[in-house]
């Protein structure tokens, strides 16, 4: 079996003396859209943060294309191609939307015009907000901007933390279309509590409970089975 | 074994300081003791409550000037003067506390520094008429009661008793609910607030207490010296007590005592051999911050001998 794109191997993470992740293992293969579901406090965000380098595992390994990510600083993890979109929908509010994208384009060397074009093609309405302060955007628009930022420089994998949280139904559809448009072309590991979205998009689902991987649903059949997701939460 | 020893620690401390006597002159030994009291007062804020103040000399100075002015203008009774000095320092603490205690971290350090500067200015210039300005003023105490505090030996004994009293008080305080709460505030103030406590009042109380003990030390200093000058309220000397607290180990009574003695030893004796004193202090501080955070007592107390025995462990 070839090396998965992203492999998390028996990772333990602790805040001080309190262990929050216990022996968590998962993998993401090229082209896959993998979801992590679970209640609040299950450790999903901690897991993503650890992969992105913001937290250090006390045990276990995180590998990207076989290369060890442990101890690598978050900015370098990002440069290696792992892009993390935080759960809070915070943008650089004092900068314009275009400048937000400019910062994203800066380390990758990709042309700002291309980065902007990508976002606009996915969400044409963003065009008129480009030169306004990012702080003025609505929650859904921010989420789209955040994903647009993360796409700069052709990353290898996207880690997205609760993209539809706090958004209205219509906006969720926009996000859904954005994500499904990327499905298959860009591997993604997404934490999501909106089960219908998970059910429609996931190639595989990991269910987390109390800092452990509780269950893996590894086929569309398993995911689409009635009540499969709900009953595990 | 050390558990049993702990019950006698006040006596141990007394004994340890008495050991100083063959080595130092009485007045110098008294100096050591008084400085330790000052370090204890500082540690209450820094070690237990977790707030670094860069202006603690203000309270030492308040006590020093307080005791002198009282003896000069009201009554030369040394005991009354000392009590007044403590009250004066506590009053300053009570007045400034509400402002200072609302801040934390850098702002706390700086605002205390600013207060110290204001105090220094008042003593040196604004109230020079009363304080003698740059020249300072002398303090003459009468002999009251059966102790002749002018006698250096008696003064030593008296100050030692004061130190023991302060240690005992600190011990009781830190073991009390108040003390525990202070340490909780140091660790996580928000959580303490969520538990329903008005942390502001506790912090204020600690600040006033710390000021009072510092004032106590200030008063005793004047008893020992008989003369007060603005150097007792000099902002630049704050680094001394900070150094002492760090080198001894913040957050413990023994740490403060060790730190006080060590610092006084260095500054009194090594200073003649170390030409660049401030550079030495600076380098020492850097070393402490980057390598020896726990201080001497901190390191010593992690040694096997001092760890409390656990259930079932053999001898």
């Amino acid at each position: 079996m070839s090396e998965p794109l992203l492999a998390v191997d028996a990772v333990d993470v602790a805040y001080g003396n309190a262990k929050v992740l216990h022996g968590v293992s998962l993998r993401v293969e090229t082209g896959e859209m993998v979801f992590i579901a679970g209640r609040n406090g299950a450790g999903k965000t901690t897991l993503l943060k650890t992969i992105a380098g913001f937290m250090s595992p006390a045990a276990g390994a995180v590998r990207l294309e076989g290369g060890d990510l442990r101890g690598v600083r978050p900015e370098n993890v990002a440069r290696l191609g792992v892009r993390y979109v935080f759960q809070d929908k915070r943008v650089f509010s004092k900068l314009t939307v275009r400048e937000n994208l400019e910062l994203a384009a800066y380390p990758s060397g990709e042309r700002l015009a291309d980065v902007v074009a990508r976002v606009v093609s996915v969400y044409p309405a963003m065009e008129k907000f480009l030169d306004g302060k990012a702080g003025a955007l609505s929650g859904g628009q921010r989420q789209i901007l955040l994903i647009g930022r993360a796409l700069a420089g052709n990353p290898k994998i996207l880690l997205i933390d609760e993209p539809t949280e706090g958004l209205a139904a219509g906006v969720i559809e926009d996000i859904f279309r954005l994500l499904s448009g990327m499905k298959g072309r860009l591997p993604m590991l997404i934490v999501e509590q909106n089960l219908p979205v998970v059910a429609r998009l996931a190639d595989r689902v990991y269910v987390m409970k109390e800092g452990k991987i509780f269950q893996e649903l590894s086929s569309r059949a398993e995911i689409e089975a009635p009540g499969a997701l709900e009953k595990n939460l | 074994m050390t558990e049993r020893l702990r019950r006698f620690d006040i006596l141990l401390i007394a004994g340890a300081f008495l050991l100083l006597l063959p080595v130092l002159k009485f007045q110098r030994a008294t100096d050591f003791i008084i400085f330790c009291i000052f370090v204890l007062s500082f540690d209450l804020l820094y070690g237990y409550m977790g707030r670094l103040s860069f202006g603690h000399m203000l309270f030492l100075g308040a006590g020093a000037y307080g005791v002198t002015l009282f003896a000069d203008r009201v009554s030369p009774n040394p005991y009354l003067s000392i009590l007044f000095a403590i009250a004066a320092a506590a009053a300053v603490g009570a007045l400034l506390g509400p402002i200072a205690v609302r801040t934390t971290g850098a702002a706390f350090a700086l605002i205390n520094l600013a207060f110290n500067q204001i105090g220094h200015f008042l003593a040196l210039i604004a109230f020079a008429r009363f304080t003698g300005g740059e020249d300072g003023m002398s303090a003459v105490f009468s002999k009251a009661g059966f102790l002749d505090l002018q006698d250096k030996r008696v003064a030593f004994g008296f100050c030692l008793a004061c130190l023991l009293l302060t240690c005992w008080g600190m011990k009781r305080l830190t073991a009390s609910p108040f003390g525990i709460l202070l340490r909780m505030i140091k660790e996580n103030e928000t959580r303490v607030k969520f538990l329903g406590y008005d942390t502001f009042r506790y912090k204020w109380a600690a600040y006033v207490l710390s000021a009072a003990v510092a004032g106590f030390a200030g008063a005793l200093s004047i008893l020992n010296y008989g003369y007060v000058t603005p150097s007792f309220i000099d902002t630049n000397r704050n680094v001394e007590v900070i150094f002492a607290s760090l080198i001894g180990g913040a957050g413990s009574i023994y740490g403060s005592l060790v730190g006080g003695v060590v610092f006084m030893t260095i500054s009194n004796y090594l200073a003649t051999y170390i030409p660049r004193w401030e550079m030495f202090l600076g380098l020492g501080l850097l070393l402490l911050v980057f390598r020896f955070r726990a201080g001497i007592w901190g390191m010593v107390s992690t040694l096997e001998v001092f760890r409390p025995r656990r259930e079932g462990e053999g001898r």
């Binding site: 900068l95 380390p107 | 210039i125 955070r293």
Partner: protein, 277 residues
């Protein structure tokens, strides 16, 4: 009265140049950098050395002195500041204070403690509103304004400036884009230190050059930063000139109390606008 006002603006200008670096470091790294005062002092002393030893004109000496301090600032950043990242604030305060002590003592060792007076490099007066002012002081005000304008543009237009603005708001998010924020904050630290040195250079002819000059200006700088808000360009600008005025006006009526009044103002501000550090 006009003289006092102009004097207040001059002090305000100097305060701005010196304090803006402190404010930016404070806002970005959350470190109270006492060593900032050292860089300021070094600027003044380097100026003295270059003026006397190399015998160059004031302008050139000033420029060289300001630049010469940068390697020292870089050293402080690399060996002290960087190690204090994420540490408890108290240790940062103590460590930078220690650096200040060491540096001041070194200066005392090399130059001695006697104050070195420097004369007004321009020595010409200008007539405004019927009163004559030293041109030098007006120049300082002009410099402060230009620097402010320059910094404003820097943070608005330059990519480094924008990264810092974003980093001040959300450091982790900037890192997640692949940008080394710490290095950019270090750049800001250097800029701020350079400005502190410039402040020392500019102020040297007005005050006297002595090893403890940093201590005198340090507290006032902190007051400026606290009153104006850390990391705020505009806030520091306004508070510099406001406090400069306080110093000048108080100095006119009760000389020695000038700086003390600044602290009183700071205390009042802190009562009504508690700090969140």
């Amino acid at each position: 009265m006009i003289t006092t006002l102009v004097y207040g603006l001059t002090i305000g200008g100097i305060l701005y140049i010196i304090s803006i670096g402190l404010s930016l470091t404070f806002g970005s790294m959350r470190i109270v950098n006492f060593a900032h005062a050292l860089v300021y002092t070094m600027g003044a002393y380097f100026l003295v050395v270059i003026l006397r030893v190399l015998g160059l004109g004031f302008l050139l000496s000033a420029a060289i002195a300001t630049v010469a301090v940068l390697p020292v600032a870089a050293g402080i950043e690399r060996f002290v500041i960087r190690r204090l990242y994420g540490e408890s604030l108290d240790y940062a305060i103590i460590a930078t204070y220690a650096v200040l002590l060491i540096g001041v003592d070194l200066i005392k060792w090399v130059f001695g403690a006697t104050p070195i007076p420097l004369s007004d490099p321009i020595g010409r007066d200008v007539d405004l509103f019927g009163i004559s002012f030293p041109l030098y002081r007006l120049l300082i005000i002009a410099m402060a304004l230009s620097i402010h304008a320059g910094l404003y543009l820097f943070f608005k237009r330059a990519i480094v400036g924008k990264i810092v603005v974003a980093g001040l708001e959300d450091k982790d998010a900037v890192r997640s884009l692949g940008i080394d924020v710490d290095r950019h904050f270090a750049i800001v630290f250097l800029i701020g230190s350079g400005l502190a040195a410039l402040g020392g250079v500019l102020y040297a002819p007005i005050t006297s050059v002595h090893p403890y000059m940093g201590f005198q200006i340090l507290l006032v700088s902190f007051a400026v930063v606290i009153v104006g808000g850390m990391g705020s360009l505009r806030g520091t600008f306004l508070s510099s000139f406001a406090l400069g005025m306080v110093i000048a006006l108080t100095g006119r009526y009760w000389g020695p109390a000038a700086e003390t009044m600044v602290f009183a103002v700071m205390a009042v501000v802190l009562i009504f606008k508690p700090l969140d550090v």
